[in-house]
Symmetry: D2
Subunit: 368 residues, 4 copies
């Protein structure tokens, strides 16, 4: 068969490096299909582009819409063993309807009615909560009740048992972030049920984890090991707010510390390693001063941002999102992002950056 194809004609004139269509080629391709094979040369443009071309798309979800639907789910959908949580996830329009904000990140609004409980379970997927408004729920992580209040960032590391209970007469909603898509795609998810209800229904202002760990630069001598996830169950807004205010004040005095002029940012970190709070997720709080436009920045890896306070605009690739409190938007891998604000803007952000850094696949480009 080889003799009927001239080497000279192997490559089509307008597609160098590719074969000339022919019945023999068709037969070869059918052979590939039969044997569950796919050639590189037909796929390389999509498989190995010159730079990341993610399937995920930039998109914004409006908090008021989420909240209204979550309230309605509060009426119609119970919370209990089986469904486990009244959580409603962002489904990126580029990802075929899967409940994935990005290929790695899950972002959902979770909603509890007054006096309602969510049953105890655990999973290897890492999780956190961020509270854009409201209070009254305690998330109980490995038997330690952790109050949830506006601006707080709360951790549920992989394989920690956890349930929630709403101690108040008001419903409460918050943002859940998990690495569910990554765990699902890669196949590392385990799940286990715990008791129907949390055992410790007390409602302390501070969790035990905070009492042990949330002192700046101080570690309990009894706990000397490096932990894969941060032991600080709750990062309180008062500290985050103060750190951001300090950075902007230093900036105004002419000292370093901010990311760029007018743009302060703190990273929630693991005090036992200095690294990210969770092995798969990074979380940060950003404050952009009134009248500031940030540099344009693109990164390998994807992020979800939530407007926490103030107003402003995010330009993500070719899209522009005007932001109000609670609005969530997604920045896919290598899509440029620029934020600007007239009146000042606080933003929560989480990303999969630790995955890329650990795999030596991270890359950042700052500039126009």
């Amino acid at each position: 068969m080889a003799t009927d194809v001239s080497p000279v004609s192997l490559t089509a004139v307008d597609r160098p490096g590719h074969p000339v269509p022919s019945p023999a080629l068709d037969e070869l391709y059918r052979g590939f299909e039969k044997e569950l094979l796919v050639p590189l040369w037909t796929e390389i443009g999509d498989l190995m582009p010159l730079h990341p071309r993610p399937a995920a798309l930039p998109h914004v979800w409006r908090w008021q819409h989420l909240l209204r639907l979550a309230e309605r789910a509060g009426d119609l959908v119970p919370v209990g063993r089986g469904g486990e949580r009244r959580a409603i996830a962002l489904a990126n329009p580029g990802l075929g309807g899967a409940p994935y904000a990005t290929p790695t990140l899950w972002a959902a609004i979770q909603y509890l009615n007054p006096r309602e409980d969510a049953p105890v379970h655990r999973h290897t997927q890492n999780a956190f909560r961020f509270v854009v408004e409201g209070e009254g729920v305690w998330t109980v992580v490995d038997d330690d009740p952790v109050a949830m209040r506006r601006g707080d960032f709360l951790l549920t590391p992989g394989w920690a048992f956890h349930g929630h209970h709403n101690q108040s007469d008001e419903p409460m909603a918050w943002l859940d972030g998990l690495d569910i898509p990554l765990a699902h795609t890669l196949g590392y998810g385990f799940f286990e049920h715990g008791p129907e209800q949390v055992a410790d229904r007390s409602a302390p202002v501070r969790s035990r984890a905070e009492r042990l760990w949330a002192h700046p630069g101080l570690r309990p001598v009894s706990q000397a090991a490096a932990l894969p996830s941060s032991p600080i169950a709750a990062y309180r807004w008062e500290h985050t707010d103060a750190a951001l205010a300090d950075q902007l004040a230093l900036d105004a005095e002419g000292h370093p510390g901010v990311v760029e002029p007018g743009h302060a940012a703190v990273r929630f970190s693991n005090p036992t390693s200095g690294g990210d709070v969770l092995p798969t997720m990074r979380a940060e709080m950003h404050r952009v001063r009134a009248g500031t436009t940030t540099a344009t920045r693109r990164e390998v890896g994807s992020s979800v941002w939530q407007a926490f306070d103030g107003t402003g605009t995010a330009v993500v690739g070719e899209q522009e999102f005007v932001l109000a409190r609670g609005d969530l938007f997604v920045v896919p891998s290598w899509v440029p992002l620029r934020i600007s604000t007239d009146d000042g803007l606080d933003l929560f952000r989480f990303s999969d950056a630790p995955v890329f850094e650990r795999l030596h696949a991270d890359r950042v480009q700052v500039g126009p």
Copy 2:
């Protein structure tokens, strides 16, 4: 609207934790769709199973079939800029036709005709080659020509320029392993063209990298940094074979060293860190002594195995594969694997284990 649903009836009797179907619920679900939202409670069984339930399936590909198709491609398909490589990839039957052996791993047969070249390029995807038979090709990695011979394991770390040239009058085929699926899903792939041909067409027995680095326990003093990928361009079969033989001899003498009785295994490692050869991939050579059946083992993460010498059987989940030289099979995440051989069997294996270890998501279970 909330008033028309009694709290008592919220949960269907046979699906605790799930809502009762109703027109109101349908409307809620339509609201979710419209806002690009997906509820957790309808998806949790698939999204967060009790243990990994990978989409990828166990499967075997026969080397003789691959080789025959690759030879035919050698007749019909050129190698040149654009298509880049005459590589034909395993497409896992559970992954919808994508050229993915597993959700993270690419495995392909690559084929070069006599005196043929593959053009120079580089990409952030990490790559290696493993030679099940043949010789005569040099892969030129960052201008260092590396001979390819049966049993050799050869590295092309991410972002290293590389091309190949066949110096002989025989065609040559080998196994390519890359992290293309992981890079594609997560979005970390960059690609860049180099020259059409490799600059250094010499054909040394040993590469410069080996001359500097492939001495046991010895590092050049001039190169003190830890590198993310191994600087050993080629792990030669003579060393691998000797290490496996030594392990089995120690086992026979009653000393430790083997994985289990009759089962020797070496891991290709990075001499600057002791870790895996590549940030995203692990590679090992296994030797199972005649008359041995291994323990059943399941791991988080997926593997591709290739029979290198001898014969035997692999039981992967509920499938049984009788193996001949060059046959490739896939073990998806958490699917149990057991190998047995009457006459002795050497196997090459690569996996995504470093990804899970770096993300603290690794888990192993050995037993019946």
Copy 3:
């Protein structure tokens, strides 16, 4: 010559493994001396004992005595370029008059008169200050003025420029801790003069370093690298006190966290790594509840302790020290320590533990 010594008589009956004294042996030993050689067999008992037998001795220094002498030095001794600091060091009675608290650690009282300055310099020796009483001095570290107040722990990492200025009308004294003996013995000390006076004579309540770094679990996003020394210039007493109080409260409630019942302890740590504040020194604050006696503990490596508040007793080896505010005592390597208090006792401690941990030479024994 060998013929005149019978092999049978080589070993003295009562000193097995040792040679029989003889003129030939004397001549051999003279040969050793002449060639600058020393045999192992005559020295091994001292050189390689069954467990550490440090030359340093347990000892206590009384703060009131130190302070009185420091005040007198304030009258008689200037502070300026050349002498550099009015610091008076503990000289362990076992170390031959050298100004070494232990073989690795320097501990000194430093004293500044009202409105007095100490000139700027830097050295590779790592340093910290701990304030047992008083205030009014700012130590200016790399141009960042850091207030010193009772209970504060302040860092001057190796090679940071630093000077002090007393802004008040009162003298001030504090404890200096450095790794001077280690640097001197091992030969790693470099020293460089800076300006005669600190450039920034402002007197802020918080240093810039604290404003950037002393927020619990929060890092500035602009500062992502791991640093060998902590960037927190000052660990304030209010945080240390709260952390100790929290630990004892958790203990009283039946929760873990303390070192042992009634004994709370926090370690000053590097938020960029979770490790010790300085590469060569560990620092901790201990609080022993009224009526508590700690377990007896021995560690490889040496410590200096300073009573900060309350009263109590330290049993160090065979010595017993009754402690009052500011008293300093030394625990040499592998000497057992036990602390007890009727009324409650707060203690500052620093040690060379990081040296041993980094060299894999650490060992701890807790028990009677």
Copy 4:
């Protein structure tokens, strides 16, 4: 008392920063002595010099002298429990007669008569052997007999049981290197006796450790942990020689790899970490091509060098040592070293560099 000293006269005109001599000052100094205190201002010049000024001095010991004395000790001194080893240590002329080659390093000639044994013991001090000539002894490390031959570098990590036995009819001498001075000064030495004789008196060509570990870039899969010391019991001369020859050949071909033109060097390394073979000691082999003079280099930390083959000259500070086989010389901290050879020179080197790197106190200066 303060009133009788005028502030103006505090500083002597010719010693700024130092006090004026006076009876009151004398009394103060007597007070310091009584309280076991030493002022910084009188000691700072020695304690904190501008750069390291080690007490240890450059010195050379002639192997022929060592060997002659060791042979004589072979006649007069037994080897047995108590004295433990017939080892004779270099005593640096600057270190007051202590058996310390440098403040951290012990270097000794050890000598065993034909058919003689050295009893089993272990200690936390780390040890190695280097063989400049001879063979016939097996050192048995944790029951694994390790042959000793010319050019071999052999490890006895801290706390490994070890004894030796001479299987031949010839005496054998070699170089022992340990961190005894460091362990003694810092107080981390533990020592324990084992059996009088080694249990396994076999004499294999390769140790079990080598069979498991001395394959380039290959690790046994069963041994995945990082170890503080290298598991390679013996680094054989054939590998070291080949690695050095390869480096010089690459140099001659115009490729990188050597330390500097004409100067090849390999570091014995831990394959589980890429780091040094022992936590406290670095070991290297250097080959200087005929007609080469190295750059002048100074490092923080001290080294011992032994000429292995060829001839040459070492300039250490202001001393010049002409070297013959086996000669040992010492380079104290920060003393410059330059080596030159007309005919080619191979040198073994060991140092305390890991100590300084782990404590972030390392510094190197290369140049005239």
